[in-house]
Symmetry: C2
Subunit: 344 residues, 2 copies
Amino acid sequence: MTQVILAIDCMGGDYGPPVTIPAVKKALKAHPDVSFRLFGDESKILKSLQHHRVELGQRIRVHASQDDVEMTDSPALALKNKKTSSMRLALESVRDGRANACVSAGNTGALMAISRFVLKMLPGIDRPAIISAIPTLKNGHVHLLDLGANVECDERRLTQFAVMGNELAKCLDKKESPAVALLNVGEEENKGSETLRKAHAMIGNINSIDFRGFVEGNQIFSGDYQVVVTDGFTGNNVLKASEGLSKYLAIKIKKAFERNWWTKLCGLLATPVISAFKSEINPEKYNGACLIGLKGIVIKSHGSANADATFCAIEEAIIQSHQKLPQKIRNELELVSLNLRNDD
Amino acid sequence: MTQVILAIDCMGGDYGPPVTIPAVKKALKAHPDVSFRLFGDESKILKSLQHHRVELGQRIRVHASQDDVEMTDSPALALKNKKTSSMRLALESVRDGRANACVSAGNTGALMAISRFVLKMLPGIDRPAIISAIPTLKNGHVHLLDLGANVECDERRLTQFAVMGNELAKCLDKKESPAVALLNVGEEENKGSETLRKAHAMIGNINSIDFRGFVEGNQIFSGDYQVVVTDGFTGNNVLKASEGLSKYLAIKIKKAFERNWWTKLCGLLATPVISAFKSEINPEKYNGACLIGLKGIVIKSHGSANADATFCAIEEAIIQSHQKLPQKIRNELELVSLNLRNDD
């Protein structure tokens, strides 16, 4: 295996170095072939490294940034004014070949805009898409895209998503031909908008994609598909509604066990079962959305990610680096040789 | 209270009379002011009535249909060819003033098309929308619309949804001013498509609506809003994904309790708690989507609804009949006096 160097934006997210540094420490141990370039407030990073007894050296270097992208910054403002932020510097190190991938828990809109500006898009791709894995009943998980980067999508953009999702699933899951589906309000080919029917025809024409046609929302969690394609508006709302529902159900079941002394006792006895259940559907395992379609690898960690979840995001960056995912998507797009580029 | 007469399409759904007749029996007992007109296969209905010891009389009459709308019929075909179906006859009885509302578990697309043709739309409304209540963390439930009838919506259609959802929530929940929100990928006013931003402005201009602006998918289940408005494509996918996720979590927790003898014992002890939990989030309680925007009341029961769920759909029809919901929506639309009608 070749050496991998990761650029970590240590300042993004709700916690900064107190979460990113322990995650880096865990990754240093688990992946001896990986080195880290840490971007952010130098004194805070050094303090956190010292606290966690991580020594500077060949595998770990600190690069001081001058300012931070805030969660409230607009993408345009972050792009224009935050040229020495940890996010920008980390992305530039990927652009300049000093790192293989960037991991950031910062402002998603800013990360999208700065990534697009600094790294540029692959030929044939208009804008990055956000893709993430979510757990399924069988076969582990499904990759859902787009999760909010592209609120309006024509058939060509949806087809781009299918090509990119297919390559990502091949890389991450080591599946030779992932089952790819297009989200719609019915399975029949005459369902949905004209855009969707056109996208159905376009994706169906790509020989390298095992395209299974339209699926409905309930089938996302079935595990019958490895990639589900939709526009960013629908994908974002499906994902966030799922988060809201999971939270609702977790609170309801907690309350059900708190009703009286008998239910409390049952809850106590069932603690290991509930814990095992929680760990299986643990959202931390599914941290690490990817900005796909760029010339470089960018992993978006959740803003509220803890150290374990951040470690998962780092692991995803390592796999994508080894697999050279952007190069594979580029090759596939050339093969598909469809006129995918929008004229906008 | 005035007398209510309900037209029941006994043949729709997966089960037909074996489910609809017990539900009608329960409703006969619970609502002494309600009468039923049963539409469908006469011999099957009579056999089922006899089996459940329900006697014909003033409060219950059978109207024989000649054919059925199948779940696989296209809306256009059902509209053209199934003129003596139980669904069509039930809707015609509402049109002719012989019943106050229709309840059907049949083919949704056909029910939409036939309702629209037979009952006609309220002035200012283009097409029916599908609205249903889903459970929330506090305040019971939220009414979500559209759930799939209108896959593409402009700002005027979204505004129609807001007006109709607002009136429905006032009627069903007896809330003076329900909190109404518009689903988007962010809360800020500059988020989402131009259509959404225009809809935000239009709804915000209606004084009779307590409009809370944009909300994200996770807030649907919060209980902070009584009505959440979205296009039919997103609404359908959010609802179906929630169904898929609930099923996934139910299976996962069942498996967690089946792991070994200790977890099985815990599961056994916790059975009453799990049952209480299940009953609280019971989807049967939330059966009875409504086709809203028509000149008459049409309740769509779930195809797989059992007798209890069908009873819930009947109860919704009774409340809407007492409240004269279509008339209230009509009055509100006149007051709003916005140019809501599309030119299409």
